[in-house]
Symmetry: C2
Subunit: 138 residues, 2 copies
Amino acid sequence: MSKAKPKISDAVAALRFDRDGLVPAVAQQHDTGEVLMLAWMNREAVAETLATGRVCYWSRSRRRLWRKGETSGQTQHLVEMRLDCDSDALLLRVEQTGVACHTGRRSCFFRAWRGAGWAVIAAPEIAPERLYPAPVDR
Amino acid sequence: MSKAKPKISDAVAALRFDRDGLVPAVAQQHDTGEVLMLAWMNREAVAETLATGRVCYWSRSRRRLWRKGETSGQTQHLVEMRLDCDSDALLLRVEQTGVACHTGRRSCFFRAWRGAGWAVIAAPEIAPERLYPAPVDR
C-alpha cells in the first residue's frame, strides 16, 4: 500500500494550538530578514494561508479571520511556513506588499528601549489615513 | 520640576501582558536577521533581561524564570529590545552563543512545510547530549 500524500490538514494537525485554539505566528520579510509583526492563527487561518499562499490571521479583537491587507491593500504573500521544535509557534517567511504595520510603518516593532524610554526608531512610510479610509480597521 | 529618568520599571509598565501575565518574545540574531526562537516573558523576565543584558524568559512548562543557557551554556546577550505597536509582543535582537534550539540546531524553526510534510531543513550543529548532560533540561 502506498502512503497517501500529506495534505494541508496534516500540516495543521501537527500544530499544538493553545487553549484558545491559536498559535503565534511571526512574519519575516523573506529576503531582508526583517521581522515585520507577530499575530495569531487558528486552524482555519493556517489552512487557508497554505492553500492560497496569501497570509490569513485570526484577529483576536474582531474574532474573525483576518486576511492581511483586506482593507489596507498591504498583503503578505507566503514564501515559506516554518514550524518550531515544540510545534507551537510559526515563522512565516513572506513577501510584504508595502507596510506591515497599521501605523504605516514597515514593521510593527518600531520602538526600542534605549534606557530613556521606548524610542520610536522608524517613521511611517505611508500615512495611516491612506491605508484606512475611515473608519479605522486593520 | 524635572522629569524623572525612565527606569526599567517604566519599560515593563508599557507592556500589555496576557491573562497569564506573559508576552511572546521573538529572538532574532541581530546581525544575520535569523529568527532563532519564540518564547515567553513575564514582568520579572523583562526587567531582569533589561537589567543584566542577558536574556531571561519565563518557562511555561517549568513555571519558573529561565535564564537562557543556564544549563546548556547557549546564552543570549541582548543587543536591543523592541516593542510592537500593540505593546503585546517583544522582539529581542540578540547575540546568540552557539545554538538556540534544545535539539542542537541554530534555530528552533527548523521545519518547513513543503506540500509533502514538514521537512527538516537544518541539521544539529551540536549533539543534544553535549548540551544537556542528563537529565534533559533546557
